[in-house]
Symmetry: C2
Subunit: 406 residues, 2 copies
């Protein structure tokens, strides 16, 4: 049911990155479920992670390892989230790190582990350890699509994005993959996202750019309002392009990089929404005219989370009263309901807090028919705005989530 999700793009070699994929049999036999990224020495690695207090064991370890050593490998499994597993979960994740570290000859702290899948079951360490040699033997610069497939859970399609840009005669490449279809309301990160580039950039600056860009991409999507325990987003800059290391956002190259990086991040974030569980619509919710940006963000998320709005979207029903009802309860400071306007796909539906005098139900039906829906709510109080992206709520969503573990 993915909405407007195109074929996986051709991501060219990004110098300094090799990817290995294997079948560990964690969830189902004969499925790619183990992915290793190999990172060259000297690369800058940045990460943002879930703010969920019940964060998974691998997330806790990533925080530690990023502080302790230069990251040389990402070790990613799907089929088991290793969350809600307490101390045994931490030990299990360390065991898998040790297995990879021993095989490739780096220290444990140079491995960043990631897990996604069912919460609350112990990680099958033996299966993962047994498959690590296959993944290492398989390392290649061209394994991006396999990696996209290897990190899927309830995703129906692998998700990738790539941009190249030229600057002073040098070509730079940014490529990435993401996964996630349910338990999606990222808070400082997404389910899983990995973005690599050959540009050279200081680690601290890359971290700042990642954090800022996440707030314009993964942190502005929601499928079901549930923040995952495993959200992780990693940016890797290998430096193999050979440019003088970027050290400041003021540099023209930094600005070109941020523009392309933001496009990749947004495309990966949108891909998660387009492949959202049971999604039949890709919905952009834009709230404008607030006094503070936080108010716009809050109202947009409340609209995006409302089951009544989402089921109306599923039915292509221009039930605008439900949208105004959410605006009314969302708690924007100083709201004057008589100043609220609502457009859906360009059709003015509400003006001055009520139905527009010229609006006809038939226009609303036409506006709601496409797969891509753009809702704009103008609160008419100020100059701030924000945008979030979401899906509708379908029978398929209930089916997927009622049967997830069966």
């Amino acid at each position: 049911m993915a909405v407007g999700l195109h074929d996986f793009p051709l991501i060219p070699e990004i110098k300094g990155i090799r990817i290995g994929v294997a079948q560990a049999g964690i969830k189902k036999p004969n499925k790619k479920d183990l992915v290793i990224f190999e990172i060259c020495e000297g690369a800058s690695v940045a990460g943002v992670f879930t703010q969920n207090a019940f964060c998974a064991a691998p997330v806790r370890i990533c925080h530690q390892h990023l502080d302790l050593a230069a990251s040389r490998y990402l070790l990613i499994n799907t089929g088991n989230a290793n969350a809600g597993t307490g101390k045994p979960g931490l030990e299990a994740a360390f065991e898998t790190c040790d297995a990879l570290a021993g095989l490739v000859g780096v220290k444990r702290e140079s491995i960043l582990p990631f897990s996604t899948g069912v919460i609350g079951e112990l990680l099958p360490v033996d299966k993962i350890v047994a498959a690590i040699p296959d993944a290492v033997a398989n390392l290649s610069a061209t394994n991006w699509q396999s990696a996209g497939i290897g990190i899927m859970t309830t995703d129906t399609l692998p998700k990738g994005s790539v941009r190249t840009f030229e600057f002073d005669g040098q070509t730079y490449t940014i490529g990435g993959i993401s996964k996630g279809a349910g338990m999606i309301r990222p808070n400082m990160a997404t389910m899983l996202g990995y973005i690599c580039t050959d540009i050279a950039i200081e680690t601290a600056l890359l971290q700042d750019i990642l954090k800022d860009t996440v707030n314009k991409s993964f942190n502005r999507i929601t499928i079901d309002s549930d923040t995952s325990t495993n959200d992780s987003c990693i940016a890797i800059a290998t430096g193999c392009a050979g440019n003088a290391k970027i050290a400041s956002l003021e540099e023209p190259l930094a600005q070109a990089f941020v523009a392309a990086f933001t496009e990749v991040m947004q495309e990966l974030a949108h891909a998660i929404v387009r492949d959202g569980e049971g999604a039949t619509k890709f919905v952009t919710v834009e709230v404008t005219g607030t006094r503070e940006k936080d108010d716009a963000t809050k109202v947009a998320f409340e609209i995006a989370h409302s089951p009544l709005v989402k089921t109306a979207l599923f039915a292509s029903d221009p039930n605008w009263g439900r949208i105004l009802a959410v605006v009314g309860r969302a708690g924007a400071a100083g709201l004057n309901v008589d100043g609220v306007q609502l457009h859906i796909n360009g059709v003015e539906i509400a003006r001055n807090g009520g139905r527009s005098p010229d609006y006809l139900e038939e226009q609303g039906k036409q506006a709601m028919a496409p797969e891509e829906i753009h809702i704009v709510v103008d609160l008419g109080m100020g100059q701030c705005s924000d945008v979030v992206w979401t899906t509708d709520f379908s029978h398929e969503y209930v089916t997927i989530n009622a049967e997830y573990r069966t």
Copy 2:
């Protein structure tokens, strides 16, 4: 699909109250959709209303009229919410008040109007005005069940509750009706609730008791997290029982009254959840061990709103990881995840933030099988707690809300 909702109770005559019901043909022909309550002179009338900024025209008028005059009649229609209708909506509601006021010989301000149904369509004033004489001619002390039916929208059953209690040889009666099945996350009131008693009590005290009791009943239920534009809850004390007017909560009679009143309010609130759109479960979410009560309330509502928890409840799937994930993101101050415990219907599922060592999946399945589910999450940090009531999320919910206007 109502869960454990019993037959409408026999509500005896409450002296000072008469109820008239008619068919105005607002939504469908030949359905009861207009209800009038006649209140004797000298009664105390209290009300609490939605906090939604897009509150409906009748809610605005109720606020005004309660300040201006003693209330003598409630005028309630279903099939049209008269919300999102701007100034024409206010004028329409006033017209219906005038029609009733003229017929029964009171002033406009003695009428409290209420509407429920589709948002954003103009109230069919002519149909209501034409049916008012029928409702007035039909006034009787025994019309409670007809009134329960006359205020239904997507409700599948009428909802009523009654308690009598004795004090000093005198019998007092409290009876009420409620409605609501979707757009239910009341904020200071419910969709519609009307509770009458023959006790004599000061209006200001009745208002205090109503507000307090709403916070233990209607304000602790949620079906879909969407606060309605029309929530209204009215308490009427006719004083016909002849007791010395209660003026203080300290009086023993006041305490007996509050206890019985709370039972009626909670039963009416629970009835709304039991008849929630698509409900197959009645779910009690109890959060204990927080430092502040607000934290318990917040965590309980977050669990009750999570689509992932609700679909797992629909599937009778003891997917406790989803509950812990909500606890982790809900933002309780000072949360130590290693101290969290989870019981479902008496079975200990999680201890110390992870799966209980003795827990077997089979026990969880048995615990989740009944229609009535009691979830207890102990955060282990303090002495505060709160309880909310909710439903699961089923295919039927999506069907009802995708097809509501078709």
